[in-house]
Symmetry: C2
Subunit: 455 residues, 2 copies
């Protein structure tokens, strides 16, 4: 509703009304609105925003929109925006910009800021250092609560969060934590060292960012302090960045599970050719692997009949689905730290028992289905010529139980093996498992058929 | 390291040392430790915790552990814990307890708390009301900043967050928001109405909890206010609860995508029979659907040869994988609100172009593979007796392109159709798409084969 009206004002170029309306909106909603506007009009709309709101909105934009705006900015405007943005957002932005713009940004940034940006850019991708901000409130342990409040008041505007304050010693080592709530509840004359919590949980700059996000979630923190190799406090990771990391990791798992090469770009911003490239690698690998199943089939030419071949798709699908179920549950369980490497035996034993229950049930259901179709459709057709329907039921049933056992065993072993080999367990998700299980199922099927049907 | 030592102290029954060590630990870590202890020892370990920490740890436990402890609690102990827990945690706990314990909890709760619990229990499952807490800080617009601080100081201990305060009028209607940061930056004599933000974003009690979580993430809020039908403030949803909701929804999508009936229970806490039950429904549906592919095969008995049959697994897998890629990307895109229903045409057009690129590439790669295998392995074998290798390449290639087109079209249409029908789009993930695409691919394959090979 609100968006609709703003969009109309924007189209009708009623700028004063638009300005008044935008002033009441959240930055995230303004960005959504600007995405609907023509690209060349973007700078004009940006400039009618009240200044503070403009800076906040800029920080919320995606890299394309930011790039578009920066190109239209005067050096002065760019310098203002850089001053107001949090450093972690600036670094995120710089990582997406073309080299020429990065140079311009670094040239315009003040020397101290430039130094900090360069330091942050140097942390390895996916590390805590790469997502942290250096704008936190630090206190000294000898301060009184009233002095702490003075310090927060003086610096709050430039800090990403003021609700957790970090107590450091002369060497910048992290020695304690005080929340704003602790400060509010303490008498003004209390000394920080008396009210701070010395059992500080922290991470190092090189910690994997996914691990940091998990810990923030586990402890319910609003921010996690990050220290360097000498245990000096160098930054914090805030809960909103942790949520972003968790969503990116989930995106990546989804993509891997769908046999797509992971990419950070959004669906619509990725071109057709890039989409095709991301999808084709795995398809090729899986297509060529599926050739093995074909080779196995050609080996059993003698056993080839329309009847026996007709069960292959059902057997392959059932095996594949059984394997997917186990692998996806195990992969997700490992992603949320519920299943650990030491649980391997427990998981395997559990999956084998599940496979037996599932396999036997499916085999019985399928036997019934075969019998009914035989009785009512195929009794006098050529399809069953030379076959005993009961033996066929047994062949298919045994294959289903075997395929379930195999699929669920591989479905739990392969993801854990991948993790052991320091690979992302998600590469061992449905498509990979399906391809492997297919070949094994067809092999098993023909052997059971030859054995029981004596072909 | 720390956990290990604590666990040893626990086993050696060195309680004073253990108590000292636990006192320095975070509640989430203590719960992890207690999970390793024998169930009957749990109450003893719980009682050596310092009181405050004990309450916080209790709130972090899963329902089984809480139930175990509550059974060992005296009425006094239970009453103390209830007093200290946040109401949303209490309600979450009650929802998991057996009826007898729920009765005991409600009997021991003070009348006012009992009333609130009952109200919260009445909100529909998955609504904002069901996950909100009613413990927030409310201010009046006529208050001065110093009075606001007094109020926060007086009530902070019982509030889930004090960092966002809500300004309400005499009728409890939400009229503004003030953050603790705003309060800290304002002079003590300022009036709340002058510094509050009147453009409040809020949700209603009946809003879907997933939507609430998305909005908290979108706006970067620490808490989202919840209002009733008369726009009166009734509670808040905090960011940590929003993260939990997001994780639950992701878990559910993963399970649906793996053809598992979703369940909230953890992998290890679910029994073998429950696991089997959750997995068997979809397996049965998919197994019986795969029968169609079998029926199609039996219809083309005339075209049956080891050579043609040997390509079926590869064609089925490729079609299935192509469909999975599209459906999973679309499902995820819809889950994070990047793809909306109005984008249907755009998505379809994009997927068709991707399918053409991918299909033609795969067809060429496969033609090369067939040619190489023919030249070096099958040239003089019986497999190709009566077949022209180039025509086979064309049949398989055309089928691959057709299967890709079909798979990617269905892969984007079906999840969006499911959403249109108010179903979870994730039910249209890989397994379902695979089964449908399989049948179509086999049908297409035999028809192309009959047409080009003139069988």
């Amino acid at each position: 509703m609100e968006e609709k009206t703003a969009f109309e004002l924007l189209k009708q170029k009623k700028y004063p009304e638009l300005r008044a309306m935008l002033a009441t909106m959240e930055p995230a909603d303004i960005v959504l609105l600007l995405e609907e506007a023509d690209e060349e009009d973007l700078p004009r709309y940006y400039r009618i925003l009240p200044k503070e709101l403009a800076y906040e909105t800029f920080a919320e934009m995606d890299a394309d929109m930011q790039e578009n705006l920066i190109r239209s900015f005067s050096d002065n405007e760019l310098s203002e925006v850089l001053e107001e943005m949090f450093l972690d957002d600036t670094v995120d932005m710089i990582e997406e910009m073309p080299a020429a713009l990065v140079k311009r940004i670094l040239r315009i940034a003040k020397p101290e800021m430039r130094k900090s940006i360069n330091e942050l850019l140097n942390y390895p991708k996916d590390s805590a250092g790469s997502i942290m901000t250096i704008e936190y409130v630090d206190l000294k342990k000898t301060m009184r609560v009233s002095e702490a409040f003075d310090r927060i008041r003086k610096t709050a505007l430039d800090k990403e969060t003021v609700y957790t304050c970090y107590v450091t010693d002369a060497g910048k080592h992290l020695i304690g934590i005080v929340t704003a709530k602790d400060l509010l509840l303490a008498p003004p004359e209390a000394i920080i060292s008396d009210i701070m919590d010395e059992d500080v949980i922290y991470v190092s700059t090189h910690e994997d960012k996914e691990e940091v996000a998990k810990q923030i979630n586990k402890y319910g923190f609003l921010a996690m302090p990050v220290v360097d190799a000498e245990k000096r406090l160098v930054g914090i990771v805030t809960v909103d960045d942790a949520i972003d990391v968790m969503q990116e990791e989930t995106d990546e798992d989804f993509q891997l599970m769908a046999a797509v090469t992971p990419s950070d770009d959004s669906y619509f911003k990725t071109s057709v050719l890039s989409h095709a490239r991301h999808r084709i690698v795995w398809l090729l690998i899986l297509m060529l692997s599926a050739t093995f199943t074909g080779i196995i089939i050609t080996h059993y030419e003698a056993a080839m009949s329309a009847l026996l071949v007709s069960f292959i798709p059902m057997l392959m699908d059932t095996g594949g689905n059984c394997g997917s179920q186990s692998s996806v549950l195990i992969i997700r369980g490992m992603a949320v730290d519920e299943i650990k490497m030491k649980d391997f035996g427990r998981v395997l034993f559990k999956e084998i028992r599940i496979a037996l229950v599932v396999g036997i049930t499916l085999a019985c259901a399928n036997a019934l289905r075969i019998y009914l179709m035989y009785e009512f459709i195929y009794k006098n057709s050529e399809l069953y010529a030379g076959f005993d329907v009961f033996r066929v039921m047994i062949v298919v049933g045994l294959t289903i139980v075997g395929a379930c056992l195999l699929a669920k065993t591989l479905g739990c072993c392969l993801p854990m093996l991948a993790k052991r080999c320091k690979l992302d367990p998600a590469v061992m998700a449905s498509p990979m498992i399906t391809t492997i299980v297919d070949a094994c199922t067809v092999f098993l099927y023909f052997n059971v058929a030859i054995w029981i049907l004596k072909i």
